[in-house]
């Protein structure tokens, strides 16, 4: 049962969370919204649709030191820091699409061979979801049956309504945290939340601009790999890493050692992009994805098919960041529509 938080109590809630956690929240800076660490007096962006970067960076940082190594006498190597000790982090303002993105990353880094860095951060994080009030011209979460008001996957779900916020704990961790704020929260005796929510739902559903239908895409791509279509759209791709780095579900990384010429050093894991030409470069010089065509095809196959194949979870959550930021307007919604047309031609 959702509780009510009066709008003027939001700051108190954030302040309280910041005492138990290192809190990050959406803040406007340089024309865009970013997750920034909480400080007293820091103004939360009340008007954003989504942050420039997805919150995946808090579970899977772009640059992460994995361990340090030192050579000792007798060819012994001392390894330290392999047990990650990240801070307890709370993310306030995670949208439903980004929460779905985290759900898509969980099986990648969990599963049979859990990744210690990701797992520790994931266990410790408190995810406070924030339901959306409207969609932008690039949003299309609905295409993948993601409900922008649902905050599925959050520990605590917050939705901004007309006169108040609705606040609901979804997990044991969320319940435990909200218990600390009972003096801020009120009970919803008159069913305000229910009524307001249906109004909010209607408002947001009408604000989507054009949602592609990916229903038959995976089946089609299962049968079709060599499509001339990929050559057409790949010809404009710059081969930069923008789409992969801002994508909530992308997770490729590179591991390397930094030693500054000495035998001692550190091992790092950093984001890498399948759009970079050398990404699939192999020892011996072979590169199975030598041109933009192979790389662009791989990206869309991954988002629309491979992730589903492997984890039974969609690889795209419709956040629209890649549509917004791609310098050459390579739009995954258009790709879905185009493939649907090709499918129609097949039948």
């Amino acid at each position: 049962m959702p509780a009510i938080l009066k709008k003027d109590k939001l700051q108190a809630l954030l302040s309280g969370l910041s005492r138990a956690y290192k809190l990050v929240l959406p803040v406007r800076e340089n024309g865009m919204t970013y997750f920034k660490p909480y400080q007293t007096g820091l103004a939360i962006d009340r008007d954003y649709i989504n942050t420039a970067m997805s919150p995946k960076e808090f579970l899977f940082p772009q640059t992460e030191k994995m361990l340090s190594f030192k050579y000792r006498e007798g060819a012994e190597i001392l390894i330290t820091g392999a047990e990650p000790q990240p801070e307890k982090l709370a993310v306030f303002g995670a949208r439903s699409c980004d929460l779905a993105g985290i759900a898509a990353l969980d099986p990648v880094f969990g599963g049979r061979f859990p990744d210690p860095q990701y797992s520790t951060r994931r266990d410790r994080v408190l995810l406070v979801g924030l339901g959306c009030r409207r969609a932008s011209s690039t949003c299309f979460c609905r295409a993948f049956n993601i409900d922008p008001l649902s905050c599925n996957g959050a520990d605590i779900a917050v939705v901004e309504l007309e006169d108040c916020f609705s606040v609901e704990a979804r997990t044991d961790k969320g319940h435990a945290q909200l218990a600390n704020f009972s003096q801020l929260l009120g009970e919803d005796n008159s069913g305000t939340v229910e009524t307001s929510l249906s109004g909010a739902r209607e408002a947001i559903d009408t604000s989507f601009d054009g949602i592609p239908d990916p229903a038959g895409i995976k089946d089609f791509l299962d049968r079709q790999f060599e499509l001339p279509y990929w050559e057409n759209i790949a010809s404009r791709c710059l081969g930069c890493g923008i789409c992969t780095y801002i994508c909530p579900t992308c997770h490729c990384f590179d591991i390397f050692d930094v030693t500054r010429g000495k035998p001692d050093g550190n091992r790092y894991r950093c984001w890498d992009s399948c759009m970079f030409p050398d990404f699939t470069g192999m020892a011996g010089g072979h590169n199975p994805r030598p041109t933009p065509k192979e790389r662009v095809r791989n990206r869309f196959m991954h988002k629309l098919k491979y992730h589903l194949d492997r984890y039974e979870i969609g690889g795209c959550v419709g956040c629209g960041r890649c549509v917004e930021k791609c310098p050459v307007n390579l739009d995954i919604r258009q790709v879905i529509n185009d493939i649907n047309k090709l499918q129609g031609g097949e039948n």
Partner: protein, 314 residues
């Protein structure tokens, strides 16, 4: 004096000309703009079939510099046609001077430009909200939406072309104010400058969009792709980000044509142009060098010698 053509008039003329070029086999490919997936975007297109020229368009959202795509469409004995604005045309001069393409491999269709709208200045649209400005209007009805660089454009009319699709456009302002942004930054203290750039470089994702979009960055093996030695690693801390941008600015010094693509493509809006323009300003002061790419006969200042060059080291 003839009426300024509207974008749709230019589009019509463009399509007619490109159809002719493809039908006669004068060119094998046309590199141009088509409408994008949103009203305020266009996409680069590569047309080989005369029927497909209907996709070509021209409007104030044609911000991209297409010149670097010429590298993907080089054929011995063949020609590609390309549509360029003034700033883009300097990019073609860059490629010609760098011997990346030959003059007889490209047929240049120049469009004198009165400015391009920066779609990032238009707030996100939702259904029911007013759309972006009418791209069909001849006049620039929304000067506040123009890219910063358009305010002091030196070459609204392409500097190199085989055909101009509209009457030439004169530069609006004189060259006096063109380095105003740079001077303003130069006058800050070292601490202020440091804080300014730290703030920007901290946001850098190291996506390399700036490098990939740049017509001066054509090295087959880029220093930043090398991992042995690992000049600049994949770590995106402030030091490495700063190093990346300084090194790249210096690698293109004297060859950067100030097309502004680096700035436009940056997903976190780092004002990268300022680094390159600082160098252009210094080259102007020290070597009397014009903006590179303006004149194909003027060699890059750092690749040429003149007895009047200053000979101090420091």
């Amino acid at each position: 004096m003839s009426e300024k053509k509207t974008p749709s008039q230019i589009t019509a003329k463009l399509r007619e000309e490109c159809r002719r070029l493809l039908e006669t086999g004068t060119v094998h490919t046309v590199i141009g703009f088509a409408r994008g997936s949103l009203p305020d975007r266009t996409v680069p297109v590569f047309i080989t079939n005369p029927k497909d020229v209907e996709h070509l368009t021209w409007n104030p959202f044609c911000a991209a510099n297409l010149s670097k795509y010429l590298l993907d469409h080089r054929r011995p004995g063949g020609k590609a046609a390309i549509i360029v604005k003034g700033c883009d045309s300097r990019g073609i001069v860059r490629l010609l001077q760098d011997n990346q393409i030959l003059r007889d491999q490209v047929h240049i269709l120049g469009i004198p430009c009165r400015g391009q709208y920066d779609h990032r200045k238009i707030p996100g649209l939702v259904a029911g909200e007013t759309g972006p400005p009418d791209p069909e209007s001849a006049a620039l009805v929304h000067p506040e939406l123009l890219f910063e660089k358009c305010a002091y454009c030196e070459n609204p009319t392409p500097v190199i072309y085989d055909l101009l699709l509209d009457d030439a456009v004169e530069p609006i302002a004189g060259s006096n104010g063109r380095f105003a942004e740079i001077t303003a930054l130069e006058e800050k203290t070292a601490l202020e400058k440091s804080a300014y750039w730290d703030d920007h470089f901290n946001r850098c994702l190291r996506c390399y969009a700036c490098r990939n979009a740049c017509p001066a960055c054509t090295c087959r093996e880029c220093v930043f792709d090398q991992f042995d030695p690992d000049w600049v690693s994949k770590r995106n801390n402030l030091s490495e980000n700063t190093a990346f941008h300084l090194i790249r600015a210096f690698h293109v010094a004297g060859r950067c044509v100030d097309c502004g693509e680096c700035d436009r493509v940056c997903p976190v809006q780092i004002p990268l142009r300022l680094l390159n323009r600082k160098i252009i300003k210094d080259l102007d002061e020290l070597f009397e060098a014009p903006t590179p790419g303006t004149d194909i006969n003027v060699k890059p200042a750092l690749g040429d010698f003149n007895s009047r060059d200053p000979d101090k080291f420091h």
